[in-house]
Symmetry: D2
């Protein structure tokens, strides 16, 4: 893969959240639950705050909520790596394994980008309930990157 | 795989919807969007009604909405095949490919179960915008089946 | 997705096999087992002839043999659709579900391309033992397409 | 997931290789290429020795060779964790992402088991060319575990 040029002016957490909010205002319908906590050159950490609407019998989180967190967290990592052009990235594939019932607490997604090419980015997301030692879910998401960069 | 015993009293669409509603009341938070249209011995068809909250820039459906539809539709097919015991099935893996931007219209998921074993069920879901000829997304979901049956 | 321009001079089975053989002579190491039976505008059918070296205890086919068949069959469908430029396509992702033990007989892969964009192609492969009614495996392969076409 | 009982008498590398060889003698057809280097309670490292038959144009490794390594390495980790009963485990799903062209050198798979339940095990495999810093491929394999344990 051609080495990818890092964003000339790295975006911080506040800027990334503002950019995503402007583009996808409906993401936070019902209350802001997705919080970007940290970003790096090829990584990101995003928190899904626990909320009654994600509950299932037994108080656990729903599959769609975990999918959303994984997808969003990889997207954040891509924007952190590419800057504003990264906003144009679109998910082409997501594979998610549900490993253990999550706790009725916040869920943290830790992402690392394992591929950042000219046309595709692939991110791995580990979803862990706050305070837990094991993963609740593991996902790999592939994004198609915008052509003009 | 051991041949699976069909539900002794097949569930019709109304009964399936009632069972799922009772178990997962929060699924329809914000308005009933997921409508079971038809079920068969190893198949199901479910409609996701178009709603503003699923919109993205350009009016297309969101990834999480499509994930939810695919996951839910396979679950419906499992309940149709197994009867009430199928309610205990839980998703272990879901792989979804986003193939083409969906139209700002209802999205129809057509599911066929490609494996129905003693412990695992695998369903394939094709998601097509109403009236379109091509798929917007394609998913394969694996469910772990309850042990006592 | 931009509509894809069909190959100006469609390739027939013999030509496709010759092109692949020239590019990947080692594919048939140990004896020609992969036979292209039929190709269409967005489809292909490929046979993996049964051979002792694929046997596992109980006489069934190995996972790697089934992976190879699925990957190869999707590649064939891409070349059938794009002509010689398709030879440059490379697999970026393959998801395979093993559904039922295959029989100790030839295995047939039926492929349809469910996406054929400018940069990515996605093919679905159903693997069925000759004479069987059910699938032994199901795979979805994503290929990155060459840029100059 | 129910905590899994570790093997009462942990198997070392030599014993694991001997058990697999006895069960799958054809794995090493053409020469022993898969070498178990290390195992842990929930991990394994396996080397695929470079060999001409895996070469592709440009000297890189083939997709099937990488699939085989990932699948085998996760299997090894399962046997290391479960002891001899693990030999009965069978792959139900494998998702592999090809990230970067591998070098014409040995390829090392590092596996960690991210789920070890009563019925399913899920292993993550990172494939890195010897001496390289980045992954050539990343895979997640799900295995169905034997019922009597």
């Amino acid at each position: 893969m051609a080495a990818h040029t890092p964003a000339s002016k790295p975006l911080d957490v506040a800027r990334i959240e503002a950019l995503i909010d402007a583009r996808f205002p409906q993401i936070h319908a019902g209350g802001r639950s997705l919080v970007v906590e940290e970003v790096g050159a090829r990584s990101a950490r995003v928190r899904l705050k626990h909320h009654d609407r994600y509950n299932r019998p037994g108080g656990t989180l729903s599959g769609p909520a975990m999918f959303t967190l994984a997808d969003f967290a990889v997207y954040v990592a891509i924007i952190a790596a590419l800057g504003e052009p990264g906003l144009e990235a679109v998910t082409t594939n997501l594979n998610i394994n549900f490993l253990a019932k999550p706790e009725p607490r916040d869920l943290i997604a830790s992402v690392r980008l394992i591929r950042l090419g000219r046309r595709l980015a692939v991110g791995e997301a580990e979803l862990v309930s706050e305070g837990a030692l094991h993963m609740s879910a593991h996902a790999i998401a592939t994004y198609a990157l915008p052509s003009e960069r």
